[in-house]
Symmetry: C2
Subunit: 264 residues, 2 copies
């Protein structure tokens, strides 16, 4: 399971202000913490860009990639923001992402084909709603894979995100169960070794952080790993969650554990 940082996000006010001022220091500071965490990829969510889009993207991407050399994941619903970002990445980034929403099929999916990158495909309805049940998730996955194939995307460029919702939602536990089942069933459903990703921070979103909710995140991450999840997007500064990812990986790859690598 590849662990991807979701920390560089516009909802972080320090990041928002740094982008606005084109001030690299706060971003550099966070980026170095992310690198130290063991994250393998850094997701960058710049939010809507207000001023000079290209200048802001160049600033953000250059600051992060020069500090770490890690692969990036460009996270935006705006194809122009994504395209601006693609130009500045030294390593091929992941595009995050598209869905069955028509304007994303039209504008974002082709970017991945053109730039030959991996791209995250969300299991959302064409009007951007979270699926009601497992059956709907699975039919959305079939439709999404069809669209990707028709657009010329190779199966190994598609990373399916089954869309995890907050546990605090009325049906949060049921949705969490459906996401596990979906990940387990996708390879058989689609007939190829489907790459998958989950936005783990969604699970605990809206709940004040405490030991119990953090344990839920760890427990659910281990369940995701066992279900066959390929990539987890998470707050990589949560050490126990990162250690969970490390432990799952060691067991799944039958590697001898290094206790020194677990810093919790």
């Amino acid at each position: 399971m590849i662990l991807i940082s979701d920390n560089i996000h516009i909802v972080n006010k320090i990041i928002a202000k740094a982008i606005e001022n084109l001030d690299p220091e706060p971003i550099l500071d966070l980026t170095l913490k992310i690198k130290k965490s063991g994250a393998k990829i850094i997701d960058i969510n710049p939010g809507p860009m207000r001023k000079d889009r290209e200048k802001e993207m160049a600033f953000l991407i250059n600051t992060v990639q020069e500090a770490t050399g890690l692969q990036l994941c460009l996270d935006s619903p705006d194809p122009e923001v994504l395209e601006a970002g693609l130009a500045f990445c030294k390593k091929k980034p992941i595009i995050n992402g598209f869905s069955l929403e028509p304007h994303k099929l039209d504008k974002i999916l082709p970017l991945a084909v053109q730039y030959e990158t991996e791209v995250v495909g969300f299991l959302l309805s064409p009007d951007s709603k979270v699926p009601h049940d497992l059956d709907e998730r699975l039919s959305l996955a079939s439709a999404l894979a069809e669209e990707a194939k028709a657009a010329g995307l190779a199966p190994d460029q598609l990373i399916i995100d089954p869309v995890l919702v907050p546990i605090s939602w009325d049906d949060g536990a049921r949705q969490a169960r459906d996401v596990l089942a979906c990940i387990r069933l996708l390879p058989e459903l689609l007939g190829f070794p489907v790459k998958t990703i989950v936005g783990l921070s969604n699970l605990t979103s809206g709940v004040a952080s405490n030991d119990s909710i953090l344990l839920l995140e760890q427990v659910y991450l281990a369940m995701l790993a066992q279900a066959g999840l390929g990539m987890a997007l998470l707050n990589v500064l949560r050490r126990r969650s990162m250690a969970t990812g490390y432990l799952c990986d060691a067991i799944q790859n039958a590697r001898v554990l290094s206790w020194a690598e677990i810093k919790i």
Copy 2:
């Protein structure tokens, strides 16, 4: 997933001394803590009995079952200890357990048939060795299920234990991975909804208890749950491990989480 206490065990010196002296107080004290932990079944491992076998078993079983009313799991490789225990249980206990070792097939498996109880069957070779790999585990499972059927045991009386080994063993991580795969594959292999159990404390056995090793226990328990494990035998006084079991169960049964139930 049903959580079973492994705390009443002869290796606990306080328990050993209490059995020797037929002193109920230390056992009662521990039993009440076990009940409070949320355990649903209590495993009783009296060790080899030195004096009056029946008197010791009666003392131990009565002390525990009167304090809690919980179902018991009689844990001994000695058929005579098990048979003595069966007579004193008010609720049908689980017998823990037999394997392909000839004297256990001859003496312990028939007890489960006779008393119509569930019985744990260990995936050990006829000479009591841990299987080398997943294939060997699966063929031991087939052989064990055959023997159980031939002896007249119903499929829902058999609880298969794939035998977890300490993570500190050279091949500990690989064995842990094989145990997960075995649990996942058993229903299809044997053709019925196979009950399973794992002795979770084995994983961390021989390693000094610290935050990292306890996290490993939690992570692995969540992986076991996702693999389909039915019962976990564990140190129920490890609160985070118990909370892990509760969280997995809530997600797998799509139940709304009660944060008040998580005491960590």
